[in-house]
Symmetry: C2
């Protein structure tokens, strides 16, 4: 176990009906003028936005509204939000939605108190030194952004599409309101993509060269439970216990708990970011294609954790089989799981055409440099091969 700092100060307010108290929570956190950020139709149609704004009004909290966040959120809406925050004197961001909404709110939070272009932070020209505080009402368990210090934004410019992630303790939400009931009305595809995303947040920490018996043990327990409860939800999407487990697991997958003392490897996320930036597919759906291909590739050079994963997470019975067979069976079981929850593991099928691997590799190199990864360091040739394996 390497030295580490674990600090997860977000207050998680979890359970039935909790969204109706968000005004009180904002008041407790000293909110003045609130910017309510959300996506659009479904949050309005379900009555959630009304519940939230009623709760704000009941506490006498003034607010402005920024709607229209889309999956793979783009810089344009961030600029709009920053302008609004400055003009309206916003002092507290409230994201009502999933990762895209929260990441947009985080970007506005750092941009609204910065004199330059917020993209400076994403392209590495500057580091945030202040941010508006952020609260969350979570509606999609997936990105883990409700408890993380990360944000991912996509920007188009003359050099192409750039989907970039940054991290800062300043943008970790102060609180996250999490009612599993709100997730029951999600289209199944979004539930499945969320499951694929949170699993991958654990994979990126689990596949590591650091010795970490305890962290691996509880990470494996969380991964097994996510898969088990996802299969329960496939049959009964209204199962509260399964919704609650998936929601809480999504937070634990990304608040740092599963990575303490470990060298992490975010290659699958990097590889996928190009896919969703180029083809505007859901991030989780892209991961279901990338992860098995990545694991197949890296396991040949570094079989240890792939072997453990097969046995301890995918329940492959190792008796009488050699390492290669065990690993292959583990990857096959993982692909079966993705198929069982309705996701394809074929990149070609996902994007509906022959993906432009060369363009994605070129963009990856532009964004990440000539290599990536720690569990197995990857050259751009390796990345090309992984995209091919994912076809």
């Amino acid at each position: 176990m390497d030295n580490f700092i674990f600090h997860s100060p977000t207050e998680f307010i979890f359970g039935r009906g909790t969204q109706k108290e968000v005004g009180k929570t904002l008041k407790r956190y000293g909110a003045g003028k609130v910017m309510l950020v959300y996506g659009g139709g479904s949050a309005e149609r379900s009555g959630l936005i009304k519940e939230v704004t009623d709760s704000l009004k009941a506490e006498g909290l003034d607010y402005v509204t920024l709607k229209g966040v889309k999956p793979n959120p783009e810089a344009d809406l961030v600029y709009e939000g920053i302008a609004m925050a400055v003009k309206e004197g916003v002092t507290f961001m409230l994201a009502v939605g999933g990762g895209s909404v929260i990441d947009t709110a985080k970007a506005i939070a750092v941009g609204a108190v910065y004199s330059g272009d917020f993209w400076d932070f994403y392209c590495g020209k500057s580091t945030p030194s202040a941010a508006l505080p952020i609260g969350v009402v979570l509606t999609i368990p997936a990105a883990g952004s409700e408890g993380s210090c990360k944000t991912v934004i996509t920007k188009k410019d003359a050099d192409g599409l750039h989907k970039i992630s940054i991290g800062s303790e300043l943008i970790r939400p102060r609180f996250a309101v999490m009612n599993p009931e709100l997730t029951m009305s999600l289209p199944w595809f979004q539930t499945a993509c969320g499951v694929a995303d949170m699993l991958c947040h654990i994979f990126e920490r689990y596949f590591s060269n650091t010795t970490a018996q305890l962290v691996n043990a509880y990470s494996e327990a969380i991964m097994r439970d996510i898969m088990d409860q996802a299969l329960t939800l496939r049959v009964n999407p209204d199962d509260y216990e399964a919704r609650a487990d998936i929601m809480w697991a999504g937070t634990l997958a990304h608040n740092g708990l599963c990575g303490v003392g470990k060298e992490e490897d975010w290659s699958s996320h990097r590889l996928e970011h190009e896919v969703s930036a180029f083809y505007d597919v859901a991030h989780g759906a892209g991961l279901a294609c990338i992860v098995p291909a990545w694991l197949l590739f890296v396991a040949k050079r570094n079989p240890d954790m792939a072997w453990k994963f097969a046995i301890n997470v995918m329940s492959v019975n190792p008796q009488g089989f050699d390492t290669d067979h065990i690993i292959a069976a583990g990857i096959s079981a993982l692909k079966d799981f993705y198929h069982d929850i309705g996701l394809t593991t074929s990149l070609r099928e996902l994007v509906g055409k022959e993906p432009d691997i060369e363009a994605m590799v070129k963009s990856l190199e532009y964004n990440m440099g000539p290599s990536l990864g720690k569990y197995v360091p990857l050259t751009m040739d390796d990345c090309r091969e992984i995209y091919r394996l994912a076809l």
Copy 2:
């Protein structure tokens, strides 16, 4: 899963050499005048106190020292510390030690800013409304007090001995410095008692009537790892990885993670507090006697979790056996584990004489009222029976 709030804002600074930076951390948290609280000889002899005070001096931090905390810490030293804190204008508490030292620092933290008697908080006459901030350098992984909002203090008065626990978010440490190397020099008995204590912090949350598949799954993983690494340390007390796992598990066992959404049952702790208050034995050693007796008693009325515990934690093979046999085998395996790490499971052997069960039951009733427990509610007659089973 019940509704819950999970808030664990303590910053955990974990790993080799971290104690040498505690001055910088205190500075970062805005410490002015520090009160350094510790036990005595071993922390001085090992050079730890010098490392800590050197680190304070290097940052120009002024401090006063309160030493002499003993296991099952008593009110007398708390009064002394409160007087010193007021007189010296202390603004930050730094506990260097295990649970007893941290709990003493917590009691001083609330007492120093209260006009009345600090014991008012413990006997239920008042509730803390302010506290000095607290930092920790942990030397004994056991009580979990470094990440918890709890403190236990013992007071003698005309009515007898009172060992009472209270909780308040105000006394949750701001940071905890955790270097597993510092625990290598612990006498084996203290390591073993710490293991028994942290396991019990999970038991008190695990044995519950609330459905909690995910929380149970990761709790089981943590319990299995604690037992496995304790047996490793029994052979090789200097195994860094095992020390690190035990230290981190001790924190996770008591920062609330293993209890989210569950109805908890602290009966074993309540029952043991009388034992250690009456006979001044180590809390963990008392738990090793109480827990198997408690489990034997409650499993007859509520077998569900005892059955799960036997199979999922104690690795009892259920095939071909009925529930009663499986549970008995689980309890037997737990007792074997305590014996393997050098702890007795006999109360008579622990206290070295026939314990005065009637006096303990009387004191328990005085402190806790006529019943305790949730997994199985216990009358005082039940408690008497559990003490007898523990003999």
